[in-house]
Symmetry: D2
């Protein structure tokens, strides 16, 4: 089986990573590549790391250009996916890498993003309880945010098992590609190299409601999340340190995590004493996890590493595509990272 795939937003970082993965996917034929401002340009000058697509000319993002494909990936700024998806029709698999269809609550969406809520689609984090089933055969997928990908998987087993309270703290150190190619002074190489800074502190980051939604669904009651993202001098990777007051049996923590992820092809609970490093996951769809209990502070501490562009965005999108189309979930997705 070969599916014909279009990518809208092909010139950004998410689009570039998606194309890298799709080039290695045995069941995919890459069709239209579109973008907003670069239409008419050969992709080679915008994504020089993709020689096989160097001569492809970028088209305009429109239902016309994107029509006639089996799968359409949308890597667009928020607010743009709903209208395009509607025009593509219900039989096309539309995978939205943006934020438009992640939140269930319309008021929540409006509060965090502004404008009208485009609706809620099946959530592309198959490792969450119940999520994989909802992806089977779907023609609409909302790919999770990069932070909620690693952070939700870091805490879901403990929250589900009642090991911790519902008052969790998450600090995630991220590489710069998560901010995209936008030309902002604080994203210049001279500014980020040799420096680390926090942003969106104290509940101001838009991924906060997504964390709350994911963990509350798992807990069966409202979970409170204190989330702080930290920008570090690396292009890729998110290292999440998540903790919460321990209420359950400390000795059970490791067992709970091993059981939760025993059959997951992309989640690796590391052997005791080994801690995740983001470099080990670069370019791979793997989540590396370690769990530990701080007995003095009475907290469960989980550390998780992912590549924000792969498992955190494009890899997660391909994984969900595989499930939706009935392919083997792991097709075309490396688990080995590019290290060092």
């Amino acid at each position: 089986m070969t599916v014909k795939v279009a990518v809208a937003g092909a010139t950004g970082y998410a689009g570039g990573e998606l194309l890298r993965l799709l080039l290695a996917h045995p069941d995919v034929e890459i069709g239209a590549l579109t973008a907003a401002s670069s239409a008419g340009t050969p992709l080679g000058s915008l994504q020089p790391h993709l020689p096989p697509l160097a001569d492809r000319v970028v088209g305009e993002t429109s239902a016309d250009t994107l029509g006639g494909h089996d799968v359409v990936f949308l890597a667009l700024p928020h607010g743009h996916s709903g209208a395009i998806a509607e025009q593509l029709g219900p039989d096309v698999l539309v995978v939205d890498l943006g934020a438009d269809h992640r939140l269930r609550d319309a008021a929540d969406w409006q509060h965090w993003y502004g404008g009208e809520h485009a609706g809620t689609w099946p959530y592309g984090l198959p490792e969450l309880p119940g999520a994989r089933e909802r992806l089977h055969g779907t023609r609409r997928v909302a790919v999770p945010g990069c932070f909620p990908t690693g952070g939700s998987l870091a805490l879901a087993p403990a929250v589900a098992a009642g090991l911790v309270t519902t008052d969790v703290t998450i600090v995630s150190v991220t590489g710069t590609s998560g901010a995209g190619k936008s030309l902002k002074p604080h994203l210049l190489g001279s500014e980020v190299m040799g420096s680390t800074s926090a942003y969106g502190v104290a509940g101001a980051h838009r991924h906060t409601p997504e964390f709350v939604q994911n963990l509350s669904a798992v807990a069966g009651r409202k979970v409170t999340v204190s989330f702080t993202p930290v920008l570090a001098p690396m292009p890729r990777g998110i290292l999440t340190t998540a903790s919460a007051p321990l209420t359950g049996d400390a000795a059970a923590a490791r067992r709970v995590y091993e059981a939760a992820y025993a059959d997951e092809p992309f989640v690796q609970v590391l052997p005791e004493g080994q801690w995740p490093t983001t470099s080990a996951t670069v370019g791979s769809n793997t989540v590396q996890l370690q769990v530990s209990v701080d007995e003095q502070a009475g907290r469960l501490v989980v550390v998780a590493a992912i590549d924000n562009l792969t498992k955190g965005t494009a890899g997660g999108a391909v994984q969900s595509m595989n499930i939706a189309l009935g392919l083997d979930e792991t097709t075309g997705l490396p688990t080995a990272g590019v290290a060092p």
Copy 2:
């Protein structure tokens, strides 16, 4: 007044930074430079960034070599400072950059470091309540650990004012120089560049009891600290994200911090909306702070940036020396960072 200064451990990162600062100190004459394994080597081949000292030959670390100076800085592995200090006599100002004399509780010290406790010296973090007074005229100083420097200052005002509970969470992202020049595989450039990882997780890091000691003293009761250090790909800098459940008046938070640090020459509470970056503090003795309240999560969140080698080690040491000797506290200490 010119004081003659010796540095033991002159070939490490702390020693190198100390010498850089001392070269610019108008009241200091640099005397003996000693080290363990490199005795007999010109300093230029070990600290190539210090041209004025390039031809100085490194001596052996002994009371003989270190004797005859007004001030002796000890940048030694833990367990070595007590014996040397004793031989130097009570009139020499001994500033210990190591861990030997920081903890008040001997059992605590033994638990975390092993071996016999060498005693407790006045703690070289003058910005903590009461600390500056204890440094006036002292002839012994225990320089704080790099993590407790930034982290304690991040939380002390809130804890002292009863703004938060005593259950605090601290995640500190650090540059690699904090680990020193030790030849360990995970510290190789190939391993650290492009990667972030946590270590000493879940209460396992030796700076934990120092945090507890500092914050408990300020609070007047036992404070519980969940501390996670994270290694990031930069040579210098610590960015601390500290948070705790808010119990006091959210609106008072900023006022409390501004009041606490109004007269501190090295602590800069940033204007609202501006967040600390470690690069802004590189090579300087400045602590950059911002405070905020997460109303959804009900937590106070403070972010602090320092240079681990300057304010976090060598700069803090010189600041304490200045106080102990009755010099202006800011002498020889830059507040401007080397950025970008």
Copy 3:
């Protein structure tokens, strides 16, 4: 067809990259993994980026362990490959990633490496004139050094076409992984980040005779090479700037390069105005090239980018294996890089 492959030196950077590529190679089954000092350890703690091999236990490097495979890759310190290859027998394809069998002249080898010369094997840089033919069906391959890979391809067409004199200058900026995992102070993250330095200057680097051998063979007469490697703060990548006095027709330069590499699957002569970046080649087997003429200085200047671990080592090794075994040369080798 499935070939059984063993890797000696599986715990180093070259070995790790080789395994990453072999995991994605459809015709390969990974057999024995061996190393010198880590025998008995699970690979997961040494190469955490290779989850599928995490539980594999590293064996000792010996003919016993390595026997019984169709292909054996040797990623060993120089001086060790010859003896092992002999014990493996003539029917096993032995691919030597080390320096032992690259140089044709025994005296040359002794001068640069010391000890006895183990012999000369077909040189695994198929893009050089005549090289591909010698690899067909061979059971012995000498993988080129990482610098000579990019640098030889940068200059070979011009030298072959007589566009330049035989007096060439090469400055290659390299990432740190080229130095391997050896624990040397100048390779610590704190030392390499934020810094650039030259080493092996003025003809002192061991890859110099390999450059001379390659380019002299192409030229049909002795070529003189001034080679300077420069260490830059990145884990992977080599950017080579090569130049030589122009003797031929400036207008022909581009045509000569396009013709030379028209059919090469892994060499990409970039469109005019676009210059190579090492990040575009990370994890890929691609060589990116640009050629230009400095009319004022009268020199041809060529810039080439590769990933030192992929095309420069492990990818080149797999490419040669493919040719030797009669597989499609590109099997299992990505041309798309992992960027940003």
Copy 4:
């Protein structure tokens, strides 16, 4: 003596470094700070590494604002310095950090920069033969380009002594701050980290004529320069590898360099066997040099390290100011670098 100093272009990287140095200069009082687009903004939000100036409000760049100072530094885009200088009058010391007044040949200037040539001012590289004398008492200084600073000092002694031919090759690896704060996609952190690339290749870089001018003046005849700048993932630093065919006595090379720089306070010819690293010079006004002869290739090879923002721009500017004003040349200029 206290001189009142104004800085035009105070919000860029050159301006920021200049202010850092001026803050530590004992004879300077910092007056007006101006910029183009940020007038009205407090400097603290634009240069967060300069706490002592955080509350200073940026003014407009005009003769009005800049008037009334003893010294005016102009860190402006090229083409803007001449007109402002004229309005400031002949008694004010004007130090131009831009390119306007570096080249002697008006046609040359027009060819490389476009527009009318503003004239030639005494060249602020006192270590070049004759340059220091021309700076004494001058009221106009043209600060050299960052590349010509290190590269000219790397070759001048050999060229002056006739040790080499006049056909020189220079490859300079630079940090990103040399490109300033301009918002260009290839300067984003995601693009520069983990990557190296060449630009302005084959004689296209504007510093080429400045190299030619400097070295030709020293040689007494036209020198041909093949210059290639390479962008590396670090904020600061330039490592220059310069070479030329050796014509003189190889054994004399070292002696020539030691003699040339024996009395220079900011040029350090390293001991044999030690090679320059850019990190050793970060934030300092030092040039680190090493010289060597490649006997096989018959070339002299010199490696030089500087900080492009300090000795390469702002430090060089302050050094020239000191000379022009009759102050000790080294006042306020650190020779110790901020490393690691």
